[in-house]
Amino acid sequence: MMYMYGKVILPTDGSELSFKGVTEGLKFAKKMDIPAVAVYVIKPSSYSYSFSGHEMGGLEVTDKEFLREGFRKQAKKVLKKVKEEADKMGVSLEGNVIEGIPYDEITKLADKGDIIYMSSHGRSGLSSVLLGSTTDRVIKNSRATVAVVKANNNG
C-alpha cells in the first residue's frame, strides 16, 4: 500500500453545507487509508465586533468572554459530531478548535503533502457567489491540494 497524502484536513464551520465536504473527505480518508484532521476556526471578530463591523465598544469584557465561551462550546459540539461520523466509518480523526482567521488557520494546518477536503460553500450559504470566500482563499493560499466538493450539486 502506498500513501500519497499524509492526512486529510476537514475544515468545518458547523453548517450543513460544510458537512458535505467533511463527509466526502472522510470517505476519501477511508479509501486512502490515511488519518483525518477536522478543524473548526473561531473568528475573533465573531465575539468582538458588532454586525456592522464596529468594535463592540459597549460590551463588557465579561460579555465578550461569555460570547467566546459560547463559540467554543459550539465548536466542540460540531467536532464531536464529525468524530462520531469518523468513528462509524473507522477513520482515525483528530479535532482542532482554533481561534483566528479561517483560511489562514486552515492553510497553516495543511502540509504540502496533505489534501484539504472542503465544501464550495459554508455558513454564508449558496447566495449568489459561485465559490465561498473561505474556500476561495484556501485554494489561493494553500500549498496542499484542495478538493472542493460542490455544496450545490443536488439541483
Binding site: M4, K31, M32, S120, L130, A144, T145, V146, A147, N153
Partner: protein, 162 residues
Amino acid sequence: MLPTDGSKFSFVGLDEGLRAAKILEIPAVAVYVVSHSKYSHGFMDYMDISSKEMIRDMGIKEGEDVLERVEKRAKKLGIELETRLMEGTPFEEIVKIADKDDIIYMSSHGHSGISSFFMGSTTDRVLKHTKATVAVVKAVKQVEQPKDLHTSGRVMYPCMEK
C-alpha cells in the same frame, strides 16, 4: 477526470490524479480540449479559411501527442485510462463530461502559466461551474514574498519548478 493542456504545469495535477486513481481503484479519463479561441477569435477573423484549418489541425495533432504521452504514463503506473480529444471552450467541455460523482484533478495553472497569479482561468471556471468535486493541485513553486517591496526594490514572481 484529468484535463490537460499539455503544459508542464498541467502535468502536476495529472500525475497526482493518476496516482489517486490507482489507489482509489477507479478508472481515469484524460481530456484534452482544442481551444476554439485559438483559431476563431479576434484578429483571426481576417485570416483565410485554409490558415484557420491549418491551426486547427495543429491543435488536434498536439492534443493527440499529449494524450499519447499521458497514456504511456498511465500504462507505466498500471492504470486503466480512457482518453478524450475534444474541441471547444476548455472549461465548458470539461464541465460537460464530468458527472456529479466524479473527481476532477486539475493543476492550479496550465498553459497560461503564472500570468494569472493565483489560479488559472480554466481551473477557476471549472471549479465554479461543475457539479463534480475538483481537486486543485498547486502547480507553482511558492516563493516567499519580500517583506517590504519598497526596500527590496523589485517585485518577485513565483518561478517555474524545474
